[in-house]
C-alpha cells in the first residue's frame, strides 16, 4: 500500500474528509450567482405588488442556505483502492473511482478560489467523460496544498515515505525537471492563433442580441454613425481596407489577451514519479498532470497563420484526455510558440527525437490528384450555383465573378494539402501528417494502436488508394494515414503492428 505523503493520510480506516472550510465563503456566492436569473425574475415579477425586493431577499437567503448545505453534505476519502465522494442530503450519492483507473488529474482555480488559496481538483479516468456514470470525480474546493498531496498520492506509482507534519515530500518536488516555460516573447505568436475571432464573435453576438432586446438599431449609435460618416467620404475600396485593418487589429488584441489569460505562467515539468505536469493561466490557473504510462504520443499542430509565422503547438495524446478545443482543452503540452521549441518539447516528452525529425514518405501523385479534384469539385459547385443564379437573373454578375476567385484558392489549398501528406513508422511510433488550414503531425505510440481500419471509397478503389486508420484509446481515438497506395498501407501496417496481418495474407 502506498503511504500518502500529504494531508489525506488514510490508514487502514481512511477517515471521511470535508472540503476546505473556506468553501463556506465560495459556495454561497456561486449559488447566488447561479440563481441570478431567477432572482432577477423575482424582482420583476414582484415589482407589480411592490414586494419584489422582499421576494428577492428570500431567494438570496435560500441560495446561501443551499450553498452552505453543499459544504456540510460533501465528503471525500481516499482508501488504498478507491477515491470516494459522498454528496447530497435527501438524494445521497456515493461515487467511487478505482485508483488504478486514474489517468489524469486536473487542478484548476478561478480568481475567487485563488484569493482564498483553494483549488478545484478533477480526477480523470479512461472512461469517456459522458454517460450517466460520467468520467471521474470532482472535488470543488480543496486547500491548494491538500490538492497537491492528493495528486501526488494518486498518480505517482512510487510509494513515498510520509513526512512528519503531513507536507508534500520535498525530495519529489526538488527532483522535478523543467522541460519548458513560457517566454514573454511568445506573445507575438498570439495574433496568429485567431483565438480572438471566437471571442469577438461571442461578444459581438451578445451585444447584437442585447441591442435587439432593447430595440436599439446599431445604425443609430453615435460611434457607428460617426464612423460611417467619416468613411462615407472616401472611396469604397479604401473604406473596405480600413474596416478590414480595424477588424484585424481587434482580433490581434483579443487573441493576445486570450493567449495571456490561458497560457501566462505556462510551465511543463516532469516528475520522476512518472508524470508530466502542465501549469498555466493568468487569472484562472490550471494544472494538468498526466501519467506518462498513459501517454500514447504527441501531436504537433500548425494552424495556417501560425505556420506562416513559424509557430506550432503541441498536445498530448493520452488515455483519459479527449481532444478538446481552444484554451479549454486539457491536452496542451506546449502553447502556440516557436516551431523549434514545440518540436523540442515533443522530443523531450517522447524521450526520443526520431518521430519528430524522421523524414516522411509522401503519398504520391494519385493522392495529390485527389486533393485537387476534391478542392476543385467544391469550387465548381460554387461557380455553377452562382452562374445559374446569374442566368436566372437572381444575382448580379459580380457574384459568379466572385465565385471564380475560389478556383485559384482551391488550387492553392489542394497544393498545400498534398504537400502536407506524409507518414513514417519509427521504432516507437506511427507518424502521420495531413491538413492545410490546420496541419497536424500525429506521433502515435505503436504500443497504443489497438486496431487497424483500411477504408477504400469507390473512387479510392479506382485510384488504387486506401486510407489506413490506427485506432487507439487515447486522444482523437483514431489517427489516419490518408490516401496511401494499397501496398504501402500494408507495409505501414506491418511495420507498426508486426504480425497482425500475417494470417490474413493471400498466398
Amino acid at each position: 500500500m502506498s503511504a500518502e505523503g500529504a494531508a489525506p493520510a488514510p490508514a487502514a480506516e481512511a477517515p471521511w474528509r470535508r472540503l476546505s472550510a473556506r468553501m463556506l465563503l465560495v459556495h454561497p456566492v456561486q449559488e447566488v450567482v447561479r440563481a441570478m436569473p431567477a432572482l432577477f425574475g423575482l424582482v420583476v415579477a414582484g415589482s407589480g405588488s411592490g414586494q419584489g425586493g422582499r421576494w428577492a431577499l428570500i431567494g438570496v437567503a435560500l441560495a446561501i442556505a443551499a450553498g452552505t448545505l453543499r459544504w456540510f453534505t460533501t465528503r471525500y476519502r481516499v482508501t488504498p483502492e478507491q477515491v470516494q465522494v459522498r454528496r447530497g442530503l435527501l438524494r445521497r450519492s456515493l461515487r467511487a473511482v478505482s485508483r488504478d483507473r486514474v489517468r489524469t488529474i486536473d487542478v484548476s482555480a478561478n480568481p475567487l478560489l485563488r484569493a482564498l488559496g483553494l483549488v478545484r481538483l478533477t480526477v480523470g479516468t479512461g472512461l469517456a467523460e459522458r454517460g450517466p456514470r460520467g468520467g471521474g470525480v470532482r472535488l470543488d474546493g480543496l486547500d491548494a496544498r491538500d490538492a497537491t498531496g492528493l495528486r501526488d498520492a494518486l498518480l505517482h506509482d512510487r510509494p513515498r515515505s510520509a513526512t512528519p507534519g503531513g507536507l508534500t515530500a520535498p525530495e519529489a518536488v526538488a527532483a522535478e525537471t523543467e522541460l519548458a516555460r513560457l517566454r514573454p516573447a511568445w506573445l507575438a505568436y498570439a495574433p496568429f492563433t485567431l483565438s480572438g475571432v471566437l471571442t469577438i464573435g461571442a461578444i459581438g453576438g451578445f451585444l447584437l442580441n442585447a441591442a435587439d432586446d432593447v430595440h436599439l438599431d446599431p445604425r443609430h449609435l453615435g460611434v457607428v454613425d460617426r464612423a460611417g460618416d467619416a468613411l462615407g467620404g472616401v472611396p469604397l475600396v479604401l473604406a473596405i481596407v480600413v474596416a478590414l485593418l480595424a477588424v484585424a487589429l481587434l482580433v490581434a488584441v483579443c487573441s493576445t489577451a486570450g493567449y495571456a489569460l490561458a497560457f501566462w505562467g505556462y510551465r511543463l515539468t516532469r516528475n520522476p514519479g512518472g508524470t508530466l505536469h502542465v501549469t498555466r493561466g493568468l487569472l484562472s490557473t490550471r494544472a494538468t498532470t498526466i501519467a506518462e504510462r498513459r501517454l500514447r504520443g504527441v501531436e504537433l499542430s500548425e494552424p495556417l497563420l501560425l505556420r506562416w509565422a513559424g509557430g506550432a503547438r503541441c498536445d498530448a495524446i493520452a488515455t483519459g484526455l479527449g481532444a478538446g478545443r481552444g484554451a479549454e482543452r486539457g491536452t496542451t503540452l506546449f502553447p502556440p510558440g516557436p516551431r523549434a521549441a514545440a518540436a523540442h518539447v515533443a522530443e523531450d516528452v517522447l524521450r526520443t527525437a526520431e518521430p519528430v525529425t524522421v523524414a516522411l514518405t509522401p503519398h504520391g501523385p494519385r493522392a495529390r490528384l485527389r486533393r485537387y479534384s476534391r478542392a476543385f469539385a467544391g469550387s465548381a459547385v460554387l461557380v455553377a450555383a452562382a452562374g445559374a443564379g446569374a442566368i436566372a437573373g437572381i444575382w448580379p454578375d459580380t457574384v459568379w465573378e466572385g465565385a471564380l476567385v475560389t478556383v485559384p484558392l482551391a488550387a492553392a489549398l489542394a497544393a498545400d494539402r498534398a504537400r502536407s501528406l506524409g507518414h513514417a513508422v519509427t521504432t516507437t511510433a506511427l507518424v502521420a501528417r495531413a491538413g492545410s488550414l490546420v496541419r497536424r503531425r500525429a506521433m502515435l505510440s505503436r504500443e497504443g494502436i489497438i486496431g487497424i481500419t483500411l477504408r477504400r471509397s469507390f473512387f479510392q478503389r479506382r485510384a488504387g488508394l486506401c486510407t489506413l486508420t490506427a485506432t487507439t484509446a487515447a486522444g482523437r481515438q483514431a489517427y489516419a494515414v490518408a490516401d496511401v497506395p494499397a501496398d504501402e498501407a500494408l507495409r505501414v501496417c506491418d511495420a507498426a503492428v508486426p504480425g497482425l496481418l500475417d494470417v490474413f495474407r493471400a498466398g
Binding site: G451, R455, Q477, R491, V503, R505
Partner: protein, 179 residues
C-alpha cells in the same frame, strides 16, 4: 512466422512482402441478409414514394413535374434495391484467427477492420425486430477506442451466438489492460 527459419538467409524477404495482398475475410454473412437488406431498403423508398404520390394527388398544378419526380424516385429505388443488397452481400465478410478478428463491410465505400484479440473489451449481439423475423443477428466487437468497434451485420443467429462465445472465451484468456 513458422516459415521464418526455413527461408534462405539471402532472400530479401521483407521487401517483397507487399506483393502479397491482404485477402478478404473467409466467411460470408447469412444469405438471408440479402432479403433483409432488400426489405429494409424497399421500406425506406416506399415511405418516400407514398409521400410523393400523396403530393401528386393533392397538388392541383404542376402535375407533370410531380409525376416525373415520382418516376425518378421509382427508377432510383429499383436500382438501389436490386444492386445494393447483392453488392453488400458480396462485400460483407468476417473471419476470426487465434490472434485477431477481421471484418469487411460496406458496398459503395468499403472498409476492412482488424483488431487484435488481446485488445477486445466487449463482444455483443444485437437483433432488431425486422432482423429477428429473418433469423439474423449483428455482432459488435468493441475495443478501448471509441472509433475502433468491429461490426458484423446480418449473421445467422446460431453463428452469431457461437462467435460471441468463442470470442468471449478468447478475450477472457487474455486479461491484460486493453488500453
Amino acid at each position: 512466422m513458422i516459415l521464418g527459419p526455413l527461408t534462405a538467409p539471402d532472400v530479401p524477404a521483407p521487401d517483397h512482402r507487399e506483393a502479397l495482398d491482404l485477402r478478404p475475410p473467409r466467411n460470408r454473412v447469412s444469405a438471408r441478409a440479402v432479403r433483409y437488406w432488400t426489405v429494409r431498403a424497399s421500406a425506406g423508398w416506399a415511405v418516400l414514394g407514398i409521400a410523393q404520390a400523396v403530393w401528386l394527388v393533392l397538388a392541383s398544378g404542376g402535375g407533370a413535374w410531380h409525376a416525373i419526380a415520382l418516376v425518378v424516385t421509382f427508377v432510383l429505388a429499383a436500382a438501389h434495391v436490386t444492386v445494393m443488397p447483392r453488392w453488400r452481400y458480396a462485400v460483407h465478410r468476417w473471419e476470426t484467427a487465434p490472434g485477431a478478428v477481421y471484418t469487411q463491410s460496406g458496398w459503395f465505400d468499403q472498409e476492412r477492420r482488424i483488431a487484435p484479440v488481446a485488445r477486445i473489451q466487449t463482444v455483443d449481439t444485437e437483433r432488431g425486430p425486422l432482423e429477428q423475423l429473418f433469423g439474423l443477428a449483428n455482432v459488435t466487437v468493441t475495443t478501448a477506442s471509441a472509433a475502433g468497434a468491429l461490426e458484423i451485420k446480418g449473421l445467422d443467429r446460431e453463428v452469431a451466438d457461437r462467435l460471441v462465445d468463442e470470442l468471449t472465451a478468447a478475450t477472457q484468456a487474455d486479461a491484460e489492460d486493453a488500453t
